[in-house]
């Protein structure tokens, strides 16, 4: 939600991030910089797993000191989560968080019908992705959790050839999704949020 300046001419009190119904605060620019870096560097997302160490190395390269301590603080605030593909923790993570999509779909073109653009109207796409990745941007945010999105998308995804299964497994979709998140998050096309319970519609009457 950006920096909050409480007074005219004064410095920002903090940066605010919305996570579910809560608003943890980033106490200074250094925390904001590391949180921003945790989104990934678009140019490196296809080659480098974005791990704690990769982030600390990138912070060192950018001459941002204290990344390890700041990262611990961000984990404590719930602003960074570490997940390993295929682990029990990954399943727990998928049940606790949801996808929120940003930007707009630009679709494909006559020249490049195999990839779909995501970006801003009237400008070149910010990123172009394969249909299975675009599907995540397009649909995953409609489910309350990442895991329920995996279950839903698995039903319309072809299984691994020779597996004998009728559909892809939600576990395989989750593995694919965790990989795809890196590209989508680093380009600002999606962000991850804590699963929320909405206020009930009947409170409006």
């Amino acid at each position: 939600m950006g920096p909050f300046h409480p007074t005219l001419g004064g410095p920002p009190k903090h940066h605010i991030v919305r996570v579910g119904w809560n608003t943890p605060k980033l106490q200074d620019e250094a925390h904001f910089d590391i949180w921003a870096l945790a989104h990934g560097l678009p140019a490196e997302m296809s080659t480098e797993p974005w791990t704690r160490q990769a982030l600390i190395d990138a912070a060192d390269d950018a001459e941002k000191p204290g990344a390890a301590t700041i990262l611990d603080n961000l984990v404590e605030l719930g602003l960074v989560v570490e997940v390993a593909r295929g682990s029990d923790r990954a399943r727990e993570f998928a049940n606790s968080y949801c996808v929120r999509s940003l930007l707009m779909g630009l679709g494909n073109t006559r020249e490049d019908p195999a990839r779909d653009g995501i970006g801003i109207a009237g400008l070149p796409p910010i990123l172009k992705v394969r249909p299975r990745v675009f599907e995540i941007w397009q649909w995953a945010h409609l489910w309350p959790t990442i895991w329920s999105a995996c279950e839903g998308i698995a039903l319309v995804t072809n299984p691994v050839e020779g597996s004998g299964a009728e559909h892809a497994s939600p576990e395989s979709v989750l593995d694919f999704m965790l990989d795809a998140f890196r590209d989508l998050i680093s380009h600002g096309a999606i962000y991850l949020d804590l699963q929320t319970t909405t206020r009930r519609a009947n409170t409006s009457d």
Partner: protein
């Protein structure tokens, strides 16, 4: 159908998914718009009218964006039979009209969600009463504190009216007395009256309620 001068504002419903070209170099294409779990395929004239309903970036903020505004802009773009295309989009629930401040606008709010497509960029030391929305390092829209609050939070609620009620209750709880932020009706009226400011650069979209 209501006459154009009834004060109704025209709003686009749905999220743009983008163009779809089936084959390389083929001229056959359509543009997809998602509303809830449904995908609509729009031809070029339908997409032009739907796009124009978002508003125009150079439009004065206080100029109401109505059916007439859209049809005038559509004629300038060479869209034929704009009136008929527009009526079809209303029938398909891809466009909706409502007048801020009316009971019907509360029903409109109950039927729709406001979903952000960009990041909140906060305020500045120079103008702490103005909040920006856009991409990191690229502010695109400037909003009042009340509109920014709804921009950031309303999509967590099942519909826009619940969001206005929730925001108003929060404002009352923290002791704010300004009715513009403590009365959900006034809050909704102010939001709808300026909503095209968010819609025209695609900083947000209206979706069907959950």
């Amino acid at each position: 159908m209501a006459p154009d001068d009834s004060g109704k504002l025209l709003f686009p419903i749905g999220q743009c998914i983008g163009a779809y070209h089936d084959f390389p170099a083929s001229t056959d294409h359509f543009t997809q718009v998602r509303v809830g779990a449904d995908i609509h395929q729009l031809d070029d004239e339908q997409f032009a009218i739907w796009g124009l309903a978002h508003g125009a970036a150079d439009r004065p903020v206080d100029e109401p964006w109505t059916r007439r505004s859209v049809l005038t802009a559509a004629r300038a773009m060479g869209v034929r039979q704009g009136n008929k295309v527009l009526a079809g989009l209303i029938s398909d629930h891809l466009l909706a009209e409502t007048t801020p401040g009316t009971n019907a606008s509360v029903d409109f709010a109950r039927q729709h969600r406001l979903v952000p497509s960009m990041l909140g960029l906060g305020n500045t030391a120079e103008e702490p009463w103005i909040f920006s929305v856009g991409l990191l390092g690229m502010p695109i829209v400037q909003l009042s504190a009340a509109a920014y609050d709804l921009y950031e939070w309303a999509h967590l609620d099942p519909n826009l009216w619940v969001a206005c009620q929730g925001a108003a209750a929060t404002a009352r709880k923290v002791g704010i007395e300004e009715s513009l932020v403590t009365d959900p009706g006034e809050m909704l009226q102010a939001l709808l009256s300026t909503l095209h400011v968010m819609l025209s650069p695609n900083a947000a979209y209206l979706d069907s309620r959950v």
